[in-house]
């Protein structure tokens, strides 16, 4: 009897040891993705709040009641319509109900496939950066992990869009227009367009290529610009400008990242809210915060008159965000601090606050996104507009990326567009 008990106990211990000791293959760990911004309990509270607010117009009379979900600078902007040259009705926006946003299948599959394979060094830097795709950290714990998720969102791998971007001076009530066509293609981290996850023939080690064709202002008509971002963080971008008026191809310096772009409030680092190597910053994860986000925005519903710093008619929905404070490693950098508010479902920076070198609040940018059908027939939440405010100089920027033509995502892009011969084609 005792022997039998001993036998059973021994077998039991062995089986337990086997379960405990035998290594489980990494791929077998179930990656939970996509992750909704809210737990069911949190969502129930949001729905309760929406019973009061969804469909309501928010203006200076009631902005205080939703102020906890809005950057304080924009609360003041709504309350002070004269300063931002709003029309008689003032500045206003609408509240719409929250809806979960799902990334396309390619992102979900790539995240499930590659996230468990991500290797990092002691400082959290991904060491197999070129071998992965999708969100490397579906459940991020640090600021750097969140930043990586932001960077690995390839916006559909390729896209082409034309933007209308007035440079707005509310004090003089004037606009100066810019119109540019922009084509971007990622060479790595591809999730939607073959070849995936990377273009095999990439001897120069490009991360992504950007091609811009300018139509406005007129003195820049047909001027074209390419920038190639390297995978290697130690290699600066490769940039060329074909200046149509003088018909010359000029190599450009790419280290003046803090130079204002064409008189706007945006510096070169501010493209897509952050357009530089992640290694240039340190990241501090503050926590989650609910914000009003404009992430299902029909830009044609917005209205704006010349000189108006903030357009009316945006749709904002309540959504959780990751808040990350970003500090540039260069002590003389233009901004002493950036604060990112990233959509908890797409890792797009939806709000960004910047502070000057003296630590004073300076600028606040807002990203507007929309679900757009890709060439592959899926829906991708993609930027459709941009609002920029310089609160120190009372100056604004507005970008509508859908005004002239629909945004095309996941289209085939010939890498030859990033060559010098393409820069000087007849247009």
């Amino acid at each position: 009897m005792r022997f039998k008990q001993f036998q059973k106990m021994t077998v039991g211990i062995c089986i337990t040891v086997m379960f405990v000791m035998v290594p489980v293959p990494a791929g077998a760990v179930e990656v939970v993705y996509p992750v909704p911004a809210y737990t069911p309990e949190e969502l129930a509270k949001v729905r309760e709040w929406e019973k009061t607010w969804a469909g309501k117009k928010i203006d200076k009379t009631n902005i205080d009641q939703v102020a906890e979900f809005f950057p304080s600078s924009y609360v003041e902007l709504i309350k002070d319509p004269e300063r931002w040259h709003a029309p008689e009705e003032g500045n206003w926006f609408m509240i719409i109900p929250y809806q979960q946003i799902l990334e396309p299948t390619g992102v979900i599959e790539a995240t499930k496939k590659y996230a468990p394979l991500v290797k990092t060094d002691a400082e959290g830097v991904i060491t197999n950066y070129t071998e992965i795709a999708g969100m490397p950290f579906p459940d991020p714990k640090t600021g750097l992990e969140i930043a990586y998720n932001m960077e690995c969102n390839t916006r559909g791998d390729t896209y082409k869009m034309m933007w209308h971007a007035p440079n707005i001076n509310p004090r003089t009530k004037t606009d100066r227009l810019a119109k540019q066509e922009f084509t971007e293609m990622f060479f790595i981290h591809r999730t939607e367009v073959d070849p995936r996850p990377a273009i095999p023939k990439n001897p120069k080690g490009y991360h992504k290529g950007q091609f811009m064709h300018m139509y406005l202002p007129p003195e820049m008509l047909n001027t074209r610009f390419i920038t190639m971002r390297h995978i290697d963080w130690n290699k600066e971008d490769l940039s060329y400008l074909y200046y149509a008026q003088f018909r010359r191809i000029r190599r450009l310096s790419t280290t003046e990242r803090t130079n204002a772009i064409d008189g706007t409030d945006q510096i070169y680092d501010d493209g897509n809210m952050w357009d530089g190597h992640l290694s240039r910053n340190t990241y501090k994860y503050i926590g989650k915060k609910e914000m009003l986000l404009s992430r299902r925005q029909d830009m044609s519903k917005t209205t704006r008159r010349s000189g108006q710093g903030f357009a009316n008619g945006y749709d904002y929905e309540r959504c959780n965000t990751y808040v990350v404070e970003v500090f540039n490693k260069d002590p003389n950098y233009l901004y002493s601090k950036r604060v990112w508010y990233l959509d908890a479902e797409t890792y797009t920076i939806m709000w960004q606050e910047m502070y000057d070198q003296l630590g004073r609040f300076w600028k606040c940018f807002c990203n507007h996104t929309q679900n757009i059908k890709t060439e592959q027939g899926e829906m991708k939440n993609f930027m459709v507009g941009y609002t920029m405010q310089d609160f120190q100089r009372t100056h604004s920027g507005y970008t509508d990326m859908t005004r002239y033509q629909p945004i095309k995502i996941g289209i085939p892009v010939n890498p030859n567009i990033y060559t010098l011969s393409n820069l000087q084609k007849t247009y």
Partner: protein
């Protein structure tokens, strides 16, 4: 009366443009036929108001406005076919101008030779003056062909045309750096091809063949803003209806060859590559010189025809012009070969500067020989090899306190400095090289060119400074200007000042034309 009319038309032009254009939808270019046809261009009104004028020059001017031009450029692009493997586009450009200063200043008008005046005030021929470009562009795979009249720009520097050898300049109404290439370059009918290879360095091959369309450089007319002052070129009072400069330059134009496949063909080849982080080009060009050399046997008798007429005018106290243009040729446009190249790179470790190098070697460049290099004492012609090298350093500068001020609003100062050096090999003192800004006894010349640009007030204003200084001959030019870009997309206003100096120190036979041309520049531009 004519003056009032010109002013009235100028004001009317501006008013009409304002009324017609400010209410249009903000779009710089016009698109038709489902975007297949795109039209753009500009209309501008430009005035130069002289602030310095010698007492001799004042005798030939009633006003200080010696340049008042309405000009326009319209360009059209038609996409006939656009697919992944074949693109066919048609491009055409037209320009037009109306110079009104002779209408508001009778004195000025009288002292511009009548033949030149007609050409100066309006375009003279469709092909020469109105049609800037007209070509078909065919892109198939790695191949691209442009066939038709074209303006080709080789080189990367701002103002200096070191490797830019294909098209001749037209300096009658403008200068490079101030006016667009379409206004200051003469288009040539040619075939231009490109091949984008997949070879290491992304080698891009380019060839050009001009099947005999020769056009010479156009120089400013006598008595006009950019041209030789009347009193410097009219030694006889009374004398012929025109100055000796007109007599020589008209013959220069008349002696220029026209279409001739056998004699005037030109060809060129260029390779563009990228090696060790340097973008480089190498070029080879063979063609006729844009400018002529004088036939030493004929230049003297030809000049004497004018002097005889001048002396007869003096003796008889009335205007007597030289006889009609002689049949013999005085000026010859000789063939020579240029090899050259460019290189540009960005050096992060050297204060993050962009460096550009351009060079040329003119092989057997024709030059006149004259006693002590004086162009009025030509006795022969010869050939020399000439080497030119330009090095440019460009940098964007963040100026503490200023760049982030309310003036600069975050825009950095863009500055570039170019050093250009040229050497004539086997030099002797009799070579006529004044037009190349060489001192009489010096085989080399060099100059420093500076370009500074500072956007202001969120780029609604733009300050630009352009200047150069010839180190050997002491000549200099400085053009500070400020542009205001009106709200919207169409209007732009420029206010500048062009100052010139050092001509008196510039040696015996160097050009002094611009020494008293200091002017205020006013320009209103409507772009579409």
């Amino acid at each position: 009366m004519r003056g009032y009319a010109a002013f009235a038309v100028t004001i009317l032009n501006i008013s009409l443009l304002t009324i017609l254009c400010t209410h249009r939808h903000a779009q710089a270019e016009m698109r038709y036929m489902d975007n297949k046809l795109i039209i753009n261009g500009f209309v501008k009104e430009t005035a130069y108001i002289r602030t310095t004028m010698t007492s001799r020059e004042k005798e030939f001017h009633d006003t200080a406005v010696d340049y008042l031009t309405t000009s326009a450029l319209v360009e059209a692009l038609y996409t006939a076919k656009e697919s992944e493997d074949l693109t066919i586009r048609l491009f055409g450009g037209l320009k037009w101008w109306w110079e009104k200063s002779p209408l508001i200043d009778d004195n000025l008008r009288r002292h511009i030779p009548h033949r030149d005046r007609k050409d100066y005030m309006h375009p003279r021929s469709f092909d020469d003056d109105i049609l800037t470009e007209a070509y078909v562009d065919i892109i198939k795979g790695p191949w691209q062909f442009r066939i038709g009249k074209q303006i080709v720009i080789w080189g990367q520097l701002d103002i200096a045309r070191v490797a830019d050898v294909v098209n001749p300049l037209d300096l009658r109404k403008g200068v490079p750096g101030v006016d667009t290439w379409e206004e200051v370059k003469r288009g040539i009918w040619m075939i231009r091809g490109f091949y984008q290879s997949q070879l290491p360095g992304n080698l891009l091959f380019e060839f050009i063949f001009n099947p005999g369309d020769f056009r010479q450089i156009e120089i400013p007319y006598e008595g006009t803003h950019y041209g030789a002052p009347y009193h410097q070129t009219n030694p006889f009072q009374p004398g012929p209806d025109f100055g000796i400069f007109h007599w020589l330059s008209q013959k220069w134009r008349r002696d220029a060859p026209t279409w001739n496949l056998k004699k005037n063909y030109e060809w060129g080849f260029r390779i563009r590559g990228y090696t060790w982080d340097i973008d480089w080009t190498l070029l080879l060009w063979n063609g006729r010189d844009d400018g002529p050399v004088a036939d030493p046997r004929r230049i003297t008798p030809f000049t004497l025809l004018y002097i005889q007429a001048g002396l007869r005018s003096q003796l008889r106290g009335k205007t007597i012009n030289p006889p009609d243009w002689p049949d013999y040729k005085v000026w010859y446009y000789k063939r020579y070969t240029t090899v050259g190249g460019t290189a540009q790179t960005w050096v992060q470790k050297l204060w993050s500067t962009v460096w550009r190098l351009e060079w040329f070697m003119e092989i057997a460049r024709p030059l006149n020989k004259a006693t002590n290099g004086a162009s009025d004492a030509v006795y022969g012609w010869t050939k020399r090899n000439i080497l030119g090298v330009a090095l440019q350093c460009s940098k964007r500068i963040n100026i503490p306190r200023f760049t982030q001020s309310r003036f600069a609003t975050g825009s950095q100062l863009d500055i570039s400095v170019t050093y250009f050096w040229e050497k004539i090999f086997n030099h002797d003192h009799d070579l006529v090289t004044a037009d190349r800004n060489h001192a009489w006894t010096d085989s080399t010349t060099d100059q420093i060119i500076m370009f500074v640009q500072q956007p202001l007030f969120n780029q609604s204003f733009m300050f630009i400074f352009t200047g150069n200084y010839y180190l050997r001959v002491g000549k200099w030019m400085a053009v500070p200007s400020i542009s205001y870009i009106f709200p919207g997309v169409h209007w732009r206003f420029d206010l500048g000042y062009a100052a010139f100096g050092g001509a008196k120190r510039s040696g015996r036979y160097s050009s002094r034309v611009s020494s008293t041309k200091d002017s205020i520049i006013l320009r209103l531009r409507y772009e579409f």
